[in-house]
Amino acid sequence: MIAQTLPANAGLYLSAILFAIGVAGVMIRRNAIILFMCIELMLNAANLAFVWFSPFAGVQGQVFVFFVIAVAAAEAAVGLAIILAVFRHKETVNINEFSLLRF
Protein backbone atom coordinates (compact mmCIF):
# COMPACT_ATOMS: atom_id res chain seq x y z
CA MET A 1 0.00 0.00 0.00
CA ILE A 2 2.78 2.36 0.93
CA ALA A 3 4.55 1.63 -2.31
CA GLN A 4 1.50 2.86 -4.21
CA THR A 5 1.48 6.21 -2.49
CA LEU A 6 5.14 6.78 -3.22
CA PRO A 7 6.22 8.22 -6.56
CA ALA A 8 7.47 5.64 -9.05
CA ASN A 9 11.16 4.82 -8.64
CA ALA A 10 11.33 6.50 -5.23
CA GLY A 11 13.59 3.77 -3.91
CA LEU A 12 15.88 4.10 -6.90
CA TYR A 13 16.16 7.84 -6.35
CA LEU A 14 16.81 7.32 -2.66
CA SER A 15 19.56 4.79 -3.38
CA ALA A 16 21.08 7.09 -6.01
CA ILE A 17 21.12 9.95 -3.51
CA LEU A 18 22.75 7.73 -0.87
CA PHE A 19 25.32 6.60 -3.42
CA ALA A 20 26.05 10.19 -4.41
CA ILE A 21 26.48 11.16 -0.75
CA GLY A 22 28.94 8.27 -0.36
CA VAL A 23 30.93 9.30 -3.42
CA ALA A 24 30.96 12.94 -2.40
CA GLY A 25 32.11 11.95 1.08
CA VAL A 26 35.02 9.97 -0.29
CA MET A 27 36.00 12.93 -2.45
CA ILE A 28 35.69 15.60 0.26
CA ARG A 29 36.56 14.08 3.62
CA ARG A 30 40.18 13.35 4.60
CA ASN A 31 39.74 11.08 7.61
CA ALA A 32 40.38 7.45 6.65
CA ILE A 33 37.65 6.11 8.94
CA ILE A 34 35.07 8.52 7.56
CA LEU A 35 36.17 7.65 4.02
CA PHE A 36 35.56 4.05 4.87
CA MET A 37 32.11 4.85 6.27
CA CYS A 38 31.28 6.64 3.02
CA ILE A 39 32.35 3.57 1.06
CA GLU A 40 30.04 1.45 3.21
CA LEU A 41 27.29 3.94 2.38
CA MET A 42 27.93 3.30 -1.32
CA LEU A 43 27.67 -0.47 -0.82
CA ASN A 44 24.45 -0.06 1.12
CA ALA A 45 23.03 2.20 -1.56
CA ALA A 46 23.61 -0.68 -3.95
CA ASN A 47 21.84 -3.00 -1.50
CA LEU A 48 18.87 -0.70 -1.44
CA ALA A 49 18.80 -0.66 -5.23
CA PHE A 50 18.90 -4.46 -5.31
CA VAL A 51 15.96 -4.70 -2.91
CA TRP A 52 14.01 -2.02 -4.76
CA PHE A 53 14.47 -3.79 -8.08
CA SER A 54 13.67 -7.26 -6.81
CA PRO A 55 9.83 -7.10 -7.21
CA PHE A 56 10.23 -6.38 -10.94
CA ALA A 57 13.58 -7.97 -11.72
CA GLY A 58 13.55 -11.13 -9.67
CA VAL A 59 13.71 -12.26 -6.10
CA GLN A 60 17.44 -13.00 -6.34
CA GLY A 61 18.00 -9.29 -5.81
CA GLN A 62 17.17 -9.78 -2.15
CA VAL A 63 19.58 -12.68 -1.90
CA PHE A 64 22.44 -10.62 -3.34
CA VAL A 65 22.07 -8.24 -0.43
CA PHE A 66 23.24 -10.96 1.93
CA PHE A 67 26.31 -11.59 -0.18
CA VAL A 68 27.10 -7.90 -0.22
CA ILE A 69 26.68 -7.63 3.54
CA ALA A 70 29.11 -10.53 4.03
CA VAL A 71 31.63 -8.98 1.64
CA ALA A 72 31.32 -5.60 3.33
CA ALA A 73 31.96 -7.23 6.70
CA ALA A 74 35.13 -8.91 5.40
CA GLU A 75 36.24 -5.62 3.91
CA ALA A 76 35.60 -3.82 7.19
CA ALA A 77 37.69 -6.34 9.13
CA VAL A 78 40.66 -5.96 6.81
CA GLY A 79 40.20 -2.24 6.30
CA LEU A 80 40.14 -1.38 9.99
CA ALA A 81 43.21 -3.56 10.55
CA ILE A 82 45.03 -1.64 7.80
CA ILE A 83 43.95 1.71 9.26
CA LEU A 84 45.24 0.53 12.65
CA ALA A 85 48.59 -0.50 11.15
CA VAL A 86 48.94 2.92 9.55
CA PHE A 87 47.94 4.68 12.75
CA ARG A 88 50.80 2.96 14.58
CA HIS A 89 53.30 4.68 12.27
CA LYS A 90 51.82 8.14 12.02
CA GLU A 91 49.49 8.55 15.01
CA THR A 92 46.95 9.99 12.60
CA VAL A 93 44.36 8.77 10.13
CA ASN A 94 44.26 11.95 8.07
CA ILE A 95 45.14 10.82 4.57
CA ASN A 96 46.76 14.15 3.69
CA GLU A 97 49.53 13.23 6.12
CA PHE A 98 50.49 10.15 4.11
CA SER A 99 53.01 11.31 1.56
CA LEU A 100 55.92 8.85 1.73
CA LEU A 101 55.04 7.48 -1.68
CA ARG A 102 55.65 10.37 -4.02
CA PHE A 103 58.13 10.70 -6.79
Binding site: L12, S15, F19, G22, V23, V26, A32, L35, F36, I39, M42, L43, A45, A46, N47, A49, F50, W52, F53, F56, A57, G58, Q60, G61, F64, F67, V68, V71, A74, E75, V78, G79, A81, I82, I83, A85, V86, R88, H89, K90, I95, F98, L100, L101, F103
Partner: protein, 503 residues
Protein backbone atom coordinates in the same frame (compact mmCIF):
# COMPACT_ATOMS: atom_id res chain seq x y z
CA UNK B 1 31.85 -34.85 -20.04
CA UNK B 2 28.84 -32.63 -20.65
CA UNK B 3 27.81 -30.45 -17.78
CA UNK B 4 24.17 -29.59 -17.33
CA UNK B 5 23.86 -26.76 -14.86
CA UNK B 6 20.27 -27.71 -14.10
CA UNK B 7 21.90 -30.28 -11.80
CA UNK B 8 23.79 -28.68 -8.96
CA UNK B 9 26.46 -31.39 -9.04
CA UNK B 10 27.66 -29.98 -12.35
CA UNK B 11 29.06 -27.03 -10.42
CA UNK B 12 31.42 -29.35 -8.58
CA UNK B 13 33.06 -30.32 -11.87
CA UNK B 14 32.88 -26.86 -13.33
CA UNK B 15 34.64 -25.39 -10.30
CA UNK B 16 37.18 -28.19 -9.94
CA UNK B 17 40.40 -26.10 -10.25
CA UNK B 18 39.13 -23.50 -7.78
CA UNK B 19 37.89 -26.14 -5.33
CA UNK B 20 41.21 -27.97 -5.50
CA UNK B 21 43.21 -24.80 -4.96
CA UNK B 22 40.99 -23.51 -2.14
CA UNK B 23 41.10 -26.85 -0.32
CA UNK B 24 44.84 -27.07 -0.78
CA UNK B 25 45.25 -23.54 0.54
CA UNK B 26 43.36 -24.37 3.72
CA UNK B 27 45.60 -27.41 4.09
CA UNK B 28 48.68 -25.19 3.69
CA UNK B 29 47.29 -22.88 6.36
CA UNK B 30 46.79 -25.73 8.81
CA UNK B 31 50.21 -27.25 8.08
CA UNK B 32 51.84 -23.87 8.60
CA UNK B 33 50.12 -23.34 11.93
CA UNK B 34 51.24 -26.74 13.23
CA UNK B 35 54.77 -26.29 11.94
CA UNK B 36 55.23 -22.80 13.32
CA UNK B 37 54.08 -23.83 16.78
CA UNK B 38 56.81 -26.48 16.79
CA UNK B 39 59.59 -24.48 15.11
CA UNK B 40 58.76 -20.78 15.38
CA UNK B 41 62.11 -19.58 14.01
CA UNK B 42 62.45 -21.93 11.08
CA UNK B 43 62.32 -20.85 7.46
CA UNK B 44 58.97 -21.09 5.73
CA UNK B 45 60.45 -22.60 2.57
CA UNK B 46 58.50 -25.90 2.95
CA UNK B 47 55.25 -23.94 3.07
CA UNK B 48 56.28 -22.13 -0.10
CA UNK B 49 57.09 -25.42 -1.84
CA UNK B 50 53.75 -26.83 -0.73
CA UNK B 51 52.00 -23.75 -2.15
CA UNK B 52 53.79 -24.23 -5.47
CA UNK B 53 52.68 -27.86 -5.47
CA UNK B 54 49.12 -26.65 -4.91
CA UNK B 55 49.38 -24.43 -7.98
CA UNK B 56 50.60 -27.39 -10.02
CA UNK B 57 47.71 -29.58 -8.82
CA UNK B 58 45.25 -26.80 -9.61
CA UNK B 59 46.87 -26.55 -13.03
CA UNK B 60 46.27 -30.26 -13.61
CA UNK B 61 42.63 -29.87 -12.56
CA UNK B 62 42.44 -26.91 -14.91
CA UNK B 63 43.74 -29.00 -17.79
CA UNK B 64 41.08 -31.60 -16.95
CA UNK B 65 38.52 -28.84 -17.43
CA UNK B 66 39.32 -28.96 -21.14
CA UNK B 67 37.56 -32.32 -21.39
CA UNK B 68 34.28 -30.83 -20.18
CA UNK B 69 31.58 -29.22 -22.24
CA UNK B 70 28.57 -27.36 -20.98
CA UNK B 71 25.12 -28.24 -22.27
CA UNK B 72 24.12 -24.58 -22.34
CA UNK B 73 25.81 -21.39 -21.09
CA UNK B 74 23.44 -21.13 -18.15
CA UNK B 75 25.88 -21.60 -15.28
CA UNK B 76 27.33 -18.87 -13.11
CA UNK B 77 30.79 -20.02 -14.12
CA UNK B 78 31.90 -20.43 -17.70
CA UNK B 79 33.27 -23.77 -18.84
CA UNK B 80 35.18 -22.83 -21.96
CA UNK B 81 38.75 -22.90 -23.12
CA UNK B 82 39.04 -19.13 -22.64
CA UNK B 83 38.70 -19.79 -18.93
CA UNK B 84 41.27 -22.60 -19.08
CA UNK B 85 43.72 -20.32 -20.89
CA UNK B 86 43.31 -17.42 -18.46
CA UNK B 87 43.49 -19.80 -15.49
CA UNK B 88 46.86 -21.00 -16.72
CA UNK B 89 48.07 -17.42 -16.99
CA UNK B 90 46.86 -16.70 -13.45
CA UNK B 91 48.44 -19.84 -12.00
CA UNK B 92 51.68 -18.99 -13.78
CA UNK B 93 51.60 -15.46 -12.35
CA UNK B 94 51.04 -16.79 -8.83
CA UNK B 95 53.77 -19.40 -9.26
CA UNK B 96 56.28 -16.80 -10.45
CA UNK B 97 55.39 -14.51 -7.55
CA UNK B 98 55.88 -17.32 -5.01
CA UNK B 99 59.21 -18.33 -6.58
CA UNK B 100 60.41 -14.74 -6.45
CA UNK B 101 59.50 -14.38 -2.77
CA UNK B 102 61.96 -17.08 -1.68
CA UNK B 103 64.76 -15.29 0.17
CA UNK B 104 63.20 -11.85 -0.26
CA UNK B 105 60.85 -12.40 2.67
CA UNK B 106 63.68 -13.58 4.93
CA UNK B 107 65.81 -10.58 3.99
CA UNK B 108 63.03 -8.22 4.97
CA UNK B 109 62.10 -10.26 8.08
CA UNK B 110 58.55 -10.91 6.99
CA UNK B 111 58.86 -14.63 6.33
CA UNK B 112 55.59 -16.03 7.65
CA UNK B 113 53.44 -18.77 6.21
CA UNK B 114 50.35 -16.58 5.82
CA UNK B 115 52.05 -14.83 2.93
CA UNK B 116 51.77 -17.88 0.71
CA UNK B 117 48.27 -18.66 1.93
CA UNK B 118 47.14 -15.15 1.04
CA UNK B 119 48.75 -15.42 -2.39
CA UNK B 120 46.87 -18.67 -2.99
CA UNK B 121 43.55 -17.27 -1.78
CA UNK B 122 44.04 -14.27 -4.02
CA UNK B 123 44.68 -16.69 -6.88
CA UNK B 124 41.42 -18.50 -6.16
CA UNK B 125 39.66 -15.15 -6.34
CA UNK B 126 41.38 -14.28 -9.61
CA UNK B 127 40.44 -17.59 -11.21
CA UNK B 128 36.81 -17.23 -10.17
CA UNK B 129 36.73 -13.65 -11.39
CA UNK B 130 38.23 -14.49 -14.76
CA UNK B 131 35.82 -17.38 -15.26
CA UNK B 132 32.61 -15.96 -13.89
CA UNK B 133 29.67 -15.49 -16.15
CA UNK B 134 27.53 -13.85 -13.54
CA UNK B 135 28.09 -10.36 -12.20
CA UNK B 136 27.41 -11.30 -8.59
CA UNK B 137 29.93 -14.12 -8.66
CA UNK B 138 32.33 -11.70 -10.36
CA UNK B 139 31.84 -9.17 -7.56
CA UNK B 140 32.42 -11.74 -4.82
CA UNK B 141 35.48 -13.16 -6.59
CA UNK B 142 36.81 -9.64 -7.05
CA UNK B 143 36.51 -9.09 -3.32
CA UNK B 144 38.09 -12.45 -2.46
CA UNK B 145 41.02 -11.40 -4.61
CA UNK B 146 41.17 -7.78 -3.46
CA UNK B 147 40.88 -8.40 0.28
CA UNK B 148 43.79 -10.83 0.15
CA UNK B 149 45.82 -8.36 -1.93
CA UNK B 150 45.09 -5.45 0.45
CA UNK B 151 46.66 -7.51 3.21
CA UNK B 152 49.60 -8.56 1.04
CA UNK B 153 50.38 -4.96 0.07
CA UNK B 154 50.57 -4.02 3.73
CA UNK B 155 52.34 -7.23 4.62
CA UNK B 156 55.47 -5.46 5.87
CA UNK B 157 53.71 -3.87 8.82
CA UNK B 158 56.89 -2.34 10.26
CA UNK B 159 57.58 -0.50 7.01
CA UNK B 160 55.57 2.75 6.91
CA UNK B 161 55.68 2.74 3.10
CA UNK B 162 54.07 -0.68 2.93
CA UNK B 163 51.31 0.31 5.36
CA UNK B 164 50.68 3.54 3.52
CA UNK B 165 50.47 1.76 0.17
CA UNK B 166 48.05 -0.70 1.70
CA UNK B 167 45.80 2.06 3.02
CA UNK B 168 45.75 3.89 -0.30
CA UNK B 169 45.07 0.71 -2.23
CA UNK B 170 42.38 -0.35 0.20
CA UNK B 171 40.50 2.94 0.16
CA UNK B 172 40.54 3.30 -3.61
CA UNK B 173 39.94 -0.41 -4.19
CA UNK B 174 36.91 -0.44 -1.92
CA UNK B 175 35.73 2.80 -3.56
CA UNK B 176 35.91 1.18 -6.99
CA UNK B 177 34.13 -1.93 -5.68
CA UNK B 178 31.31 0.36 -4.63
CA UNK B 179 31.03 1.67 -8.20
CA UNK B 180 31.15 -1.83 -9.61
CA UNK B 181 28.46 -3.08 -7.26
CA UNK B 182 26.13 -0.16 -7.93
CA UNK B 183 26.62 -0.72 -11.63
CA UNK B 184 25.65 -4.37 -11.16
CA UNK B 185 22.55 -3.30 -9.23
CA UNK B 186 21.48 -0.96 -12.04
CA UNK B 187 22.14 -3.54 -14.75
CA UNK B 188 20.13 -6.02 -12.69
CA UNK B 189 17.29 -3.56 -12.53
CA UNK B 190 17.43 -2.79 -16.23
CA UNK B 191 17.62 -6.36 -17.47
CA UNK B 192 16.28 -8.49 -14.62
CA UNK B 193 19.39 -10.61 -14.46
CA UNK B 194 23.02 -10.61 -13.46
CA UNK B 195 23.83 -13.48 -15.79
CA UNK B 196 25.98 -12.06 -18.59
CA UNK B 197 24.55 -13.98 -21.57
CA UNK B 198 21.04 -13.15 -20.35
CA UNK B 199 21.99 -9.49 -20.02
CA UNK B 200 23.39 -9.76 -23.53
CA UNK B 201 20.12 -11.09 -24.97
CA UNK B 202 17.99 -8.63 -23.01
CA UNK B 203 19.99 -5.64 -24.17
CA UNK B 204 20.47 -7.03 -27.66
CA UNK B 205 16.74 -7.65 -28.05
CA UNK B 206 16.05 -4.01 -27.49
CA UNK B 207 14.31 -4.54 -24.17
CA UNK B 208 16.73 -2.34 -22.32
CA UNK B 209 18.73 -0.77 -25.11
CA UNK B 210 19.88 2.71 -24.20
CA UNK B 211 17.57 2.83 -21.22
CA UNK B 212 19.13 5.37 -18.88
CA UNK B 213 19.37 2.85 -16.04
CA UNK B 214 21.25 0.35 -18.20
CA UNK B 215 23.57 3.07 -19.48
CA UNK B 216 24.33 4.27 -15.97
CA UNK B 217 24.95 0.68 -14.89
CA UNK B 218 27.36 0.14 -17.77
CA UNK B 219 29.21 3.35 -16.96
CA UNK B 220 29.59 2.40 -13.29
CA UNK B 221 30.75 -1.14 -14.12
CA UNK B 222 33.26 0.41 -16.51
CA UNK B 223 34.56 2.69 -13.75
CA UNK B 224 34.84 -0.23 -11.33
CA UNK B 225 36.74 -2.43 -13.75
CA UNK B 226 38.78 0.56 -14.97
CA UNK B 227 40.08 0.98 -11.45
CA UNK B 228 41.06 -2.67 -11.24
CA UNK B 229 42.90 -2.73 -14.58
CA UNK B 230 44.45 0.66 -13.73
CA UNK B 231 43.33 2.58 -16.80
CA UNK B 232 43.95 6.33 -16.81
CA UNK B 233 42.21 8.31 -15.19
CA UNK B 234 41.44 5.57 -12.66
CA UNK B 235 45.11 4.75 -12.11
CA UNK B 236 45.99 7.09 -9.26
CA UNK B 237 46.36 4.28 -6.74
CA UNK B 238 48.65 2.17 -8.93
CA UNK B 239 52.08 3.80 -8.62
CA UNK B 240 51.76 4.19 -4.85
CA UNK B 241 50.44 0.69 -4.22
CA UNK B 242 52.98 -0.92 -6.55
CA UNK B 243 55.82 1.11 -5.09
CA UNK B 244 55.08 0.47 -1.43
CA UNK B 245 54.14 -3.20 -1.65
CA UNK B 246 56.73 -5.94 -1.10
CA UNK B 247 58.12 -6.55 -4.60
CA UNK B 248 56.81 -10.13 -5.08
CA UNK B 249 53.35 -8.77 -4.27
CA UNK B 250 53.90 -6.00 -6.81
CA UNK B 251 54.71 -8.66 -9.38
CA UNK B 252 51.51 -10.52 -8.52
CA UNK B 253 49.43 -7.34 -8.69
CA UNK B 254 50.90 -6.26 -12.00
CA UNK B 255 50.37 -9.69 -13.57
CA UNK B 256 47.69 -11.80 -11.91
CA UNK B 257 45.33 -9.13 -10.62
CA UNK B 258 45.50 -7.23 -13.87
CA UNK B 259 45.02 -10.36 -15.97
CA UNK B 260 41.98 -11.41 -13.92
CA UNK B 261 40.46 -7.95 -14.13
CA UNK B 262 41.03 -7.87 -17.88
CA UNK B 263 39.48 -11.31 -18.38
CA UNK B 264 36.44 -10.09 -16.44
CA UNK B 265 36.47 -6.92 -18.53
CA UNK B 266 36.34 -8.89 -21.77
CA UNK B 267 33.58 -11.15 -20.45
CA UNK B 268 31.44 -8.22 -19.32
CA UNK B 269 31.95 -5.90 -22.26
CA UNK B 270 32.64 -8.14 -25.24
CA UNK B 271 30.13 -10.86 -24.28
CA UNK B 272 27.54 -9.41 -21.90
CA UNK B 273 27.38 -5.91 -23.34
CA UNK B 274 28.62 -6.75 -26.82
CA UNK B 275 25.20 -5.99 -28.31
CA UNK B 276 25.30 -2.36 -27.21
CA UNK B 277 28.86 -1.83 -28.30
CA UNK B 278 28.14 1.63 -29.75
CA UNK B 279 27.32 2.84 -26.25
CA UNK B 280 30.57 1.88 -24.54
CA UNK B 281 33.16 1.63 -27.32
CA UNK B 282 33.79 5.42 -27.62
CA UNK B 283 34.41 5.67 -23.89
CA UNK B 284 36.82 2.74 -23.88
CA UNK B 285 38.50 4.27 -26.94
CA UNK B 286 39.23 7.44 -24.98
CA UNK B 287 40.37 5.43 -21.95
CA UNK B 288 42.78 3.40 -24.08
CA UNK B 289 44.28 6.46 -25.79
CA UNK B 290 44.59 8.39 -22.52
CA UNK B 291 46.13 5.41 -20.75
CA UNK B 292 48.76 4.80 -23.41
CA UNK B 293 49.81 8.44 -23.77
CA UNK B 294 49.63 9.63 -20.16
CA UNK B 295 51.22 6.57 -18.57
CA UNK B 296 54.15 6.56 -20.98
CA UNK B 297 54.74 10.29 -20.56
CA UNK B 298 54.70 10.08 -16.76
CA UNK B 299 56.95 7.01 -16.81
CA UNK B 300 59.60 9.17 -18.48
CA UNK B 301 59.91 11.29 -15.37
CA UNK B 302 60.37 8.48 -12.86
CA UNK B 303 63.65 8.11 -11.01
CA UNK B 304 62.70 4.82 -9.37
CA UNK B 305 62.79 1.69 -11.49
CA UNK B 306 60.01 0.07 -9.48
CA UNK B 307 57.77 3.09 -10.00
CA UNK B 308 58.73 3.26 -13.65
CA UNK B 309 57.63 -0.36 -14.02
CA UNK B 310 54.36 0.55 -12.28
CA UNK B 311 53.68 3.22 -14.92
CA UNK B 312 54.76 0.78 -17.60
CA UNK B 313 52.14 -1.66 -16.37
CA UNK B 314 49.54 1.11 -16.63
CA UNK B 315 50.66 1.78 -20.19
CA UNK B 316 50.31 -1.91 -20.99
CA UNK B 317 46.72 -1.78 -19.72
CA UNK B 318 46.19 0.75 -22.50
CA UNK B 319 47.60 -1.62 -25.14
CA UNK B 320 45.34 -4.39 -23.86
CA UNK B 321 42.34 -2.07 -24.04
CA UNK B 322 43.12 -1.53 -27.73
CA UNK B 323 42.96 -5.29 -28.28
CA UNK B 324 39.68 -5.39 -26.40
CA UNK B 325 38.23 -2.64 -28.57
CA UNK B 326 38.88 -4.53 -31.78
CA UNK B 327 35.49 -6.14 -31.94
CA UNK B 328 36.71 -9.25 -33.69
CA UNK B 329 38.03 -12.62 -32.62
CA UNK B 330 41.51 -11.62 -33.78
CA UNK B 331 41.38 -8.81 -31.25
CA UNK B 332 40.44 -11.13 -28.42
CA UNK B 333 43.12 -13.65 -29.45
CA UNK B 334 45.73 -10.88 -29.62
CA UNK B 335 44.52 -9.82 -26.20
CA UNK B 336 45.08 -13.29 -24.72
CA UNK B 337 48.47 -13.65 -26.36
CA UNK B 338 49.59 -10.25 -25.13
CA UNK B 339 48.29 -11.03 -21.64
CA UNK B 340 50.55 -14.09 -21.52
CA UNK B 341 53.60 -12.21 -22.83
CA UNK B 342 52.90 -9.32 -20.50
CA UNK B 343 52.65 -11.65 -17.51
CA UNK B 344 56.01 -13.32 -18.07
CA UNK B 345 57.94 -10.17 -18.97
CA UNK B 346 56.53 -8.09 -16.14
CA UNK B 347 57.04 -10.80 -13.53
CA UNK B 348 60.60 -11.23 -14.83
CA UNK B 349 61.33 -7.50 -14.62
CA UNK B 350 60.06 -7.30 -11.06
CA UNK B 351 62.18 -10.38 -10.32
CA UNK B 352 65.28 -8.39 -11.23
CA UNK B 353 64.09 -5.54 -9.00
CA UNK B 354 63.97 -8.13 -6.20
CA UNK B 355 67.43 -9.38 -7.13
CA UNK B 356 68.84 -5.87 -6.82
CA UNK B 357 67.51 -5.35 -3.31
CA UNK B 358 69.88 -5.92 -0.41
CA UNK B 359 68.84 -6.66 3.14
CA UNK B 360 65.99 -4.38 4.05
CA UNK B 361 66.93 -1.88 1.34
CA UNK B 362 64.86 -2.04 -1.81
CA UNK B 363 67.47 -0.16 -3.90
CA UNK B 364 65.10 0.78 -6.68
CA UNK B 365 66.49 4.12 -7.84
CA UNK B 366 68.04 4.29 -11.28
CA UNK B 367 71.56 4.92 -9.90
CA UNK B 368 71.39 1.69 -7.93
CA UNK B 369 71.46 -0.17 -11.22
CA UNK B 370 74.74 1.39 -12.40
CA UNK B 371 77.12 -1.39 -13.37
CA UNK B 372 74.54 -4.09 -12.65
CA UNK B 373 74.86 -5.54 -16.14
CA UNK B 374 78.62 -6.19 -15.75
CA UNK B 375 78.68 -7.42 -12.18
CA UNK B 376 75.66 -9.71 -12.60
CA UNK B 377 75.93 -10.69 -16.27
CA UNK B 378 73.11 -13.26 -16.35
CA UNK B 379 70.59 -11.24 -14.39
CA UNK B 380 71.59 -8.12 -16.29
CA UNK B 381 71.06 -9.82 -19.64
CA UNK B 382 67.68 -11.12 -18.47
CA UNK B 383 66.68 -7.62 -17.34
CA UNK B 384 67.71 -6.21 -20.70
CA UNK B 385 65.60 -8.85 -22.42
CA UNK B 386 62.52 -8.09 -20.29
CA UNK B 387 62.87 -4.34 -20.81
CA UNK B 388 63.28 -4.74 -24.57
CA UNK B 389 60.25 -7.01 -24.63
CA UNK B 390 58.22 -4.50 -22.61
CA UNK B 391 59.22 -1.86 -25.13
CA UNK B 392 58.23 -4.15 -27.98
CA UNK B 393 61.63 -4.72 -29.55
CA UNK B 394 61.83 -7.36 -32.33
CA UNK B 395 62.98 -10.88 -31.40
CA UNK B 396 60.94 -10.76 -28.20
CA UNK B 397 57.42 -11.83 -27.39
CA UNK B 398 56.44 -8.24 -26.62
CA UNK B 399 57.06 -7.27 -30.24
CA UNK B 400 54.86 -10.01 -31.60
CA UNK B 401 52.15 -9.27 -29.05
CA UNK B 402 52.05 -5.61 -30.07
CA UNK B 403 52.05 -6.61 -33.72
CA UNK B 404 48.98 -8.81 -33.20
CA UNK B 405 47.21 -6.01 -31.34
CA UNK B 406 47.99 -3.48 -34.08
CA UNK B 407 46.84 -5.93 -36.74
CA UNK B 408 43.54 -6.54 -34.96
CA UNK B 409 43.06 -2.79 -34.55
CA UNK B 410 43.69 -2.23 -38.26
CA UNK B 411 41.34 -5.07 -39.23
CA UNK B 412 38.56 -3.44 -37.25
CA UNK B 413 39.27 -0.07 -38.96
CA UNK B 414 40.61 1.48 -35.81
CA UNK B 415 43.55 3.21 -37.47
CA UNK B 416 43.82 6.26 -35.15
CA UNK B 417 44.17 4.04 -32.09
CA UNK B 418 46.82 1.92 -33.80
CA UNK B 419 48.76 5.10 -34.55
CA UNK B 420 48.49 6.21 -30.93
CA UNK B 421 49.73 2.77 -29.85
CA UNK B 422 52.78 2.98 -32.08
CA UNK B 423 53.63 6.53 -30.97
CA UNK B 424 53.14 5.63 -27.31
CA UNK B 425 55.47 2.65 -27.59
CA UNK B 426 58.04 4.89 -29.28
CA UNK B 427 57.95 7.12 -26.20
CA UNK B 428 58.30 4.04 -24.02
CA UNK B 429 61.55 3.04 -25.73
CA UNK B 430 63.23 6.01 -24.11
CA UNK B 431 62.63 5.04 -20.49
CA UNK B 432 63.15 1.32 -20.99
CA UNK B 433 66.44 1.85 -22.83
CA UNK B 434 67.57 4.37 -20.22
CA UNK B 435 67.65 1.59 -17.62
CA UNK B 436 69.71 -0.60 -19.94
CA UNK B 437 72.10 2.30 -20.57
CA UNK B 438 72.54 2.88 -16.84
CA UNK B 439 72.95 -0.84 -16.23
CA UNK B 440 75.76 -1.26 -18.76
CA UNK B 441 77.31 2.14 -19.40
CA UNK B 442 77.51 3.81 -16.05
CA UNK B 443 80.22 2.68 -13.61
CA UNK B 444 79.06 1.03 -10.41
CA UNK B 445 79.51 2.87 -7.12
CA UNK B 446 82.10 0.31 -6.11
CA UNK B 447 83.58 -2.84 -7.61
CA UNK B 448 81.43 -5.05 -5.43
CA UNK B 449 78.25 -3.00 -5.13
CA UNK B 450 76.19 -5.78 -6.72
CA UNK B 451 77.94 -8.72 -5.06
CA UNK B 452 75.12 -9.37 -2.70
CA UNK B 453 72.61 -8.98 -5.48
CA UNK B 454 71.00 -12.20 -6.36
CA UNK B 455 68.09 -14.44 -5.79
CA UNK B 456 67.45 -17.77 -4.18
CA UNK B 457 67.47 -20.70 -6.60
CA UNK B 458 63.66 -20.75 -7.13
CA UNK B 459 63.76 -17.06 -7.95
CA UNK B 460 66.52 -17.61 -10.49
CA UNK B 461 64.50 -20.45 -11.97
CA UNK B 462 61.48 -18.15 -12.25
CA UNK B 463 63.56 -15.54 -14.08
CA UNK B 464 65.00 -18.21 -16.37
CA UNK B 465 61.50 -19.49 -17.15
CA UNK B 466 60.29 -15.96 -17.83
CA UNK B 467 63.28 -15.18 -20.06
CA UNK B 468 62.87 -18.40 -22.05
CA UNK B 469 59.14 -17.74 -22.36
CA UNK B 470 59.73 -14.21 -23.66
CA UNK B 471 62.00 -15.61 -26.37
CA UNK B 472 59.82 -18.64 -27.08
CA UNK B 473 56.79 -16.43 -27.53
CA UNK B 474 58.60 -14.85 -30.45
CA UNK B 475 60.33 -17.83 -32.03
CA UNK B 476 57.67 -20.47 -31.38
CA UNK B 477 54.60 -18.29 -31.05
CA UNK B 478 52.28 -20.01 -33.49
CA UNK B 479 51.10 -22.88 -31.20
CA UNK B 480 50.33 -20.38 -28.46
CA UNK B 481 48.58 -18.08 -30.89
CA UNK B 482 46.52 -20.99 -32.22
CA UNK B 483 45.57 -21.98 -28.68
CA UNK B 484 44.58 -18.37 -27.99
CA UNK B 485 42.50 -18.23 -31.16
CA UNK B 486 40.67 -21.47 -30.43
CA UNK B 487 39.98 -20.48 -26.84
CA UNK B 488 38.62 -17.15 -27.94
CA UNK B 489 36.25 -18.89 -30.31
CA UNK B 490 34.64 -20.48 -27.26
CA UNK B 491 34.12 -17.06 -25.76
CA UNK B 492 31.68 -15.95 -28.41
CA UNK B 493 29.10 -18.75 -28.35
CA UNK B 494 26.83 -16.80 -30.70
CA UNK B 495 29.37 -16.81 -33.52
CA UNK B 496 28.63 -20.29 -34.99
CA UNK B 497 24.93 -19.47 -35.15
CA UNK B 498 25.69 -16.98 -37.89
CA UNK B 499 26.78 -19.82 -40.10
CA UNK B 500 23.83 -22.00 -39.17
CA UNK B 501 25.97 -24.49 -37.31
CA UNK B 502 23.84 -24.74 -34.19
CA UNK B 503 21.54 -27.78 -34.20
Amino acid sequence: MTLDFARQSAYFWALLPEIVLATWTMLVLVVDVFRSSDHPEESRAPVAWMSLAGLVVAGAANAYLLSMREAAPTGMIAVDSFRVFTNFILLLAAGLAICLSFGYLQRRHIDRGEFYVLVLFATVGMMLMAGSRDLILMFIALEVMSVAIYVLVGYHRQDPRSSEASLKYFLLGAFSSGFFLYGIALLFGATGSTHLPTIGTMLGDGVGTASPVALAGMALVLVGLGFKVAAVPFHVWTPDAYDGAPTPVTALMATGVKAAAFAAFIRVFAVGLGGVREDWAPVVWVLAALTMVAANLVALTQGSVKRMLAYSSIAHAGYLLVALLSANQAGAAAFLFYLLVYTVMTAGAFGIVIANSQGDHERVSLEDYAGFGWQQPLLGAAFGLFLLSLAGFPLTGGFLGKLYIIRSALESDNVPLAVVLVLASLISYFYYLRVIVVMYMRPAASANSHDQAGLAVPGRAAIAVAAVAVLALFFAASPVMRAAESSVASLFPAAPALFGMTP
